[in-house]
Symmetry: C2
Subunit: 338 residues, 2 copies
C-alpha cells in the first residue's frame, strides 16, 4: 500500500449526518504528483486530528470552505521535503502545513511553517508548538486579555488545547479549574499539569461542583465543549468576564439544532463578553508565540501529552471518532509508516 | 389622593411569574418624609417605564439588587426639589434620579443628575437626554466600537433605545436596518428617523427579510429582543462583528427557560463577539455624551418620541404591561399630577 508510486488518500465521499461513518469516506490510491518550478514535494509523516475537522465536513459557510465531495480530507500535517524546485526549501527540510490526509503533497510552500527538529520532535509541531499551543495562546492572551490573579475555568481541559490553556494561565499567575471526563483525566490535570482543581463532569452535579470550586466566580471561561457546560460556566461569570468560544465538541455531531446558551443574558447583567476566534487570524504573531512556547517547554513549564496512533491513512476515519467519544487522551496524531 | 400630606407609593407585593399581575403590587399612602441635614425632598413629576424593570422584580443576582418585597418599586424619575438642606441643591432645581414609583422622595442627591430646562423639557431627561439616549450611545460607541460605513441591525428599533441607536448610527455615517412590529412603526423608522430599511417582524419570514436587506451581512447587531430575533441576526454577522446585548424583551416574561441563541457558534466562525453592557457603568462619560446628544437634538438630527400617560402612580402596573405587549410607541413615561 505504501510504496514509491502510490499516494494513498482519504477523500470525502458523503457529507455525514451526525458522527461520520465509514462509508462517508473513500480511500483511494492516487499517483505521486510531479512538481513544477517553485513547488516542493512533501512526504507526510504526521497527521493532526482535530475537532474542527467535523465542521469542515458540513456544507455551510465557515472560516474555511467545506471540504469538497471527492476531495482529499483537509488536515494539518508535518512532513519532510523529498523534492524541491523552490529555493526556500531543501530536500530534508521538515515543514508543517495543511497537506491533508494522504501520503504525499505538492505545495508552493507559502503557507508552510518550518519545523526545527533541534527544538522539538516533529509531532510536537502539531501539539505544543502547533495548533494546540497556538490556539491556547491566542485565545487566552490575544482574545481573552488574560491578566494575573484571575480565576480561569477551562472545559475540555484534558484535551490538547485545554491542557495548554490551563498551563499557560498558571504560568501567567492565575487560578485554574479544569473540567474533564473521568478520574484519570482529572488526576492528570492536577498532578501533571498543575491545575488548581479538576471537575469530573461524568460524576454529575456539574454546576454545583463549579460553584464549589469557584466561590468567587470566574473571570475567564475558555470553552471547548458548549451545551450544558457552557451554560454552567456562564452562570458563574464575574463582572467584566471574558467567555472564549474555542469550540463546542458536545454539539458538533448533533443532528438536531445546536443548544444555545440559555444563560447568555448574564453577559448583560455581568457586562461580560463572549467571543469566538481562530488561531489562523494571528499568523503574524505566531513566531513570537512559538518562541515563548518553546522556552516554556524546554524549561519544563509546559507539557503536551501526545496520543499517537501509527498506521496508514486508512485508520483516519476510526481515529477521528475517538475525538468525539472522549476516548483519546492528549493531542491525537496519526504517524504514517516510513 | 394627591395632597400635601400623602406620599402615594407602588410597592412590590409578590414576585411575579411571567407578566406582572395587578395583585403583585400594593399601592399605599405613605407619609411625606422629613429631611435631615444634607438631604433634599423631591417632588416626583415624571416616571420612566423601562424593560429592565422586569428583571429587577426577580429574586436573582443582577447588576442591581432585586426590588425588595414590600419596597417601593425602583424607577428612574425626574422631579423638582421642594425642600433642601443640601448646599448643592436649591428649591426649584430639577433633577433626575432613581427615586421610585411614588410622589415624594428623600435623597442626599449624590446620584442625582441636574436637569437643565433651558436645553430640553423635563421628560426628555428620561428619553433622548436620559436612559434611552445614553444607553444607545454607550452601546454603540463605547461597547460596539462603531465605525463608519458599517451595516447596523437594530431590533426593537421603534423602542426608545432602538430609535436612538439607529439615529446615532446614521449620524456616524452607517447603513441602518431596523426590526419593529407593524407597518406604522416601520414607516416611522424610515420616514421620521431616517433608517435605511425597516423589517416588520409581524409579517413573518424574518430571516429572509434580514438577508434581503443586508446582502453584505452586518457588522454590528444591537439586540433588544432576544429569542428568534437574536438567532436571525447572528446568522448574518460578518467577520469581526459586534453583537451588543442590550436586552431581551421577548424573553423577560417567559416562565420556561430563556431561549439561548442556537447560532452562537457563528461567533467562532466569524471571529465575532457578543457583549452585554449597562449604561450605568459609563457614568463618568455621561456629561460629554449628554452634551453631544443635546447638540444633535437641537440641530434636529435626533428625535425622541415620547409616549406620555398622565395619572397618579396607580397607573404604573397597567402602564408597565404596555411595554411587553408592543403597544407603546416611543419612550414610555408616566406624568404625575401636579
Amino acid at each position: 500500500m505504501n510504496n514509491s508510486t502510490t499516494n494513498r488518500q482519504v477523500c470525502l465521499a458523503n457529507r455525514p449526518k451526525g458522527l461520520p461513518k465509514e462509508n462517508d469516506w473513500a480511500i483511494i490510491n492516487g499517483t505521486i504528483p510531479k512538481i513544477e518550478q517553485g513547488q516542493v514535494l512533501t512526504k507526510i509523516k504526521y497527521i493532526s486530528i482535530d475537532p474542527a475537522m467535523r465542521g469542515w465536513l458540513n456544507d455551510s459557510p465557515s472560516y474555511v470552505p467545506p471540504v469538497g465531495l471527492g476531495s482529499v480530507m483537509r488536515a494539518l500535517t508535518v512532513g519532510e521535503i523529498i523534492e524541491s524546485k523552490n529555493d526556500s526549501f531543501h530536500v530534508g527540510d521538515w515543514v508543517s502545513g495543511l497537506d491533508g490526509v494522504q501520503n504525499y503533497a505538492v505545495s508552493y510552500g507559502s503557507e508552510y511553517i518550518k519545523v526545527d527538529l533541534s527544538i522539538a520532535p516533529p509531532q510536537t509541531y502539531l501539539g505544543t508548538l502547533g495548533i494546540a499551543g497556538l490556539t491556547a495562546y491566542c485565545g487566552l492572551i490575544n482574545v481573552g486579555k488574560l491578566q494575573t490573579n484571575e480565576t480561569i475555568l477551562v472545559s475540555g481541559a484534558a484535551g490538547s488545547v485545554g491542557a495548554h490553556v490551563g498551563q499557560i494561565a498558571k504560568i501567567k499567575g492565575n487560578k485554574v479549574i479544569g473540567i474533564a471526563g473521568g478520574s484519570k483525566k482529572c488526576a492528570y490535570l492536577i498532578d501533571k499539569l498543575g491545575f488548581d482543581a479538576a471537575i469530573d463532569y461524568k460524576k454529575g452535579a456539574l454546576l454545583e461542583n463549579i460553584k464549589q470550586n469557584c466561590p468567587d466566580g470566574i473571570d475567564l471561561f475558555f470553552d471547548n465543549v458548549g451545551g450544558i457546560t457552557l451554560d454552567a460556566g456562564l452562570s458563574v461569570i464575574n463582572v467584566g468576564a471574558r467567555v472564549i468560544i474555542c469550540g463546542a465538541i458536545s454539539q458538533y455531531n448533533l443532528s438536531k439544532e445546536i443548544e444555545g446558551p440559555s444563560n447568555y443574558l448574564l453577559l448583560l447583567r455581568r457586562r461580560a463578553r463572549m467571543e469566538g476566534f481562530i488561531y489562523f487570524d494571528f499568523r503574524t504573531d505566531w513566531p513570537s508565540m512559538l518562541r515563548e512556547l518553546a522556552e516554556w517547554r524546554s524549561a519544563g513549564k509546559i507539557y503536551g501529552l501526545e496520543d499517537i496512533t501509527e498506521g496508514q491513512v486508512d485508520i483516519f476515519p476510526s481515529t477521528l471518532l475517538r475525538l468525539f467519544s472522549g476516548d483519546n487522551f492528549g493531542k491525537l496524531i496519526i504517524k504514517l509508516p516510513d
